[in-house]
C-alpha cells in the first residue's frame, strides 16, 4: 500500500516536471513581423468593410425616415465605421513599416526617413481614435472624419514611396548579383587569354551581355526616378506606380537576357 502511494507520488512529480518544462520551452509571445502585421491589417480591413455596410444601411434609413432613433443609429454606425477606418489605416501603415524593416538592401537613411514618417502618422491615428468616441453629433463626427480625409493623400504618398523603396532595393540586390557574376566571368576569360588561348568569341559575347546589363541598369534608374518623382498628387501616385512597374519589368527582362548570354559563355568555355 505504502509502495503504491510512493509510486503514484513519483509519477505525479515527474508529470509535473514534464509539464513545467514543456511550458517553459513553448514561446509565450509570437514574434511581430510583416506577416503578422499584414494579417492584423487584413483583419481590420474586413471589420471596416462590414462596418461600412452597416453605416450605409443606417445612412439610408436616416435619410428616409429622419427620425431621432434612425439618427442615433446612423451616428453610432458612422462612429464605428470611422474607428475601423482609423484602425485599418493604422495597421496598414504598420505593415508598411514592417515591410521596410524586413527588406534587405535599403539604404539606412532612406529606411529611417520613412520610419519616422510612418511612426508619426501611426501616432497621429492613435490620438485621432481617442477623439472619436466623444463626438456627440453628426456635425462633430463629420469634422473629425474630414481630419483623417485631409491626410489621405499623405498616406497614399507614403504607401507608394515605401513600395518604391522596397521593390527598388530588391531589384538592386539582384542587379548587384548579376554584376558580380559578370566580373567573375570576365576574370575567367582573362585567365584563358593569359594561357594563350583565343578568346575573341568569348569577349564579343561578354560585351553583348554587358550591353544588356547596361540596358537593365538604365531601366532600373528610370524606375527609381519615377518613384522619386511621386508627390502627394493622387494622379502622380498611380501613374508613377504603373510606369515604374513597367520600367522594372523591362529591367528584369534585360537581366534575364544577360543571364542567358552569360550561360552561353560558360557553356562555350567548358566545351573548348
Amino acid at each position: 500500500m505504502k509502495q503504491a502511494a510512493l509510486s503514484f507520488l513519483l509519477l505525479l512529480t515527474s508529470c509535473f516536471l514534464l509539464l513545467t518544462q514543456t511550458l517553459a520551452q513553448s514561446p509565450t509571445t509570437t514574434e511581430f513581423n510583416f506577416d503578422r502585421a499584414y494579417q492584423d491589417y487584413l483583419y481590420n480591413y474586413n471589420l471596416y468593410r462590414s462596418a461600412y455596410q452597416d453605416y450605409l444601411v443606417a445612412q439610408n434609413e436616416y435619410q428616409k425616415y429622419k427620425t431621432l432613433s434612425s439618427q442615433t443609429k446612423f451616428l453610432e454606425t458612422a462612429k464605428t465605421m470611422l474607428l475601423t477606418r482609423a484602425d485599418t489605416v493604422k495597421t496598414y501603415l504598420t505593415a508598411l513599416r514592417m515591410k521596410l524593416r524586413e527588406t534587405t538592401g535599403i539604404i539606412n537613411y532612406q529606411q529611417n526617413l520613412y520610419y519616422v514618417k510612418l511612426d508619426d502618422e501611426v501616432a497621429w491615428v492613435d490620438s485621432y481614435k481617442q477623439s472619436l468616441p466623444s463626438a456627440g453629433s453628426l456635425d462633430d463626427l463629420g469634422q473629425l472624419s474630414s481630419q483623417m480625409e485631409g491626410k489621405s493623400n499623405l498616406y497614399h504618398y507614403l504607401a507608394y514611396k515605401t513600395i518604391g523603396v522596397v521593390v527598388c532595393a530588391r531589384e538592386s540586390a539582384l542587379k548587384e548579383h548579376v554584376q558580380d557574376v559578370i566580373s567573375r566571368l570576365e576574370n575567367q576569360i582573362n585567365q584563358i587569354r593569359n594561357e594563350g588561348r583565343n578568346t575573341d568569341v568569348l569577349e564579343r559575347w561578354l560585351i553583348e551581355a554587358k550591353q544588356k546589363f547596361a540596358r537593365a541598369e538604365e531601366k532600373f534608374t528610370q524606375a527609381q526616378n519615377i518613384y522619386g518623382s511621386i508627390t502627394e498628387n493622387p494622379s502622380s501616385q498611380t501613374n508613377g506606380y504603373n510606369s515604374a512597374g513597367v520600367a522594372l519589368e523591362q529591367s528584369n527582362q534585360y537581366l534575364k537576357e544577360t543571364i542567358t548570354s552569360l550561360k552561353e559563355i560558360i557553356r562555350e568555355i567548358k566545351n573548348e
Binding site: 480591413y45 470611422l82 505593415a95 463626427l141 522596397v166 521593390v167 530588391r170 531589384e171 537581366l255 543571364i259
Partner: protein, 100 residues
Amino acid sequence: MNNRQIILKKFLMLLLPLIITVALIFLVIVFRANVVIKNGNKVTPTPILTPTTAVSPSPQTEELDKIGNDMKEIEQDLETIDIKEIELLPPAVDMNVKLK
C-alpha cells in the same frame, strides 16, 4: 585398371575443366591489371574497377560551376521577384464620407 585408378580418372575428368576455367579467369585478370608492353612502350590498361578517388576538377572548372550555380539562383529570383507589391497598395477605404 583397378578400382582406385578408375575413381582417380573420373575425379580428374571432373576437376580438370574446373581448374582450366579458374586458370583462364585468373589469366584474364592478370592480363587486364598488369601493364602491357606494346611496341616497346608501356601502356596503362583500362582499370577493371572504377577508381575510388575521383579526379579533382581544375580551379577554373570549379569557379565556372560556382558561377553557374549562382546564375541558377539569380534566374530563380528573377522569376519570383515581386516588383509590384500589389498587396501593399493602399486600402480602398472611403475617404470622402458624407455624414448627412
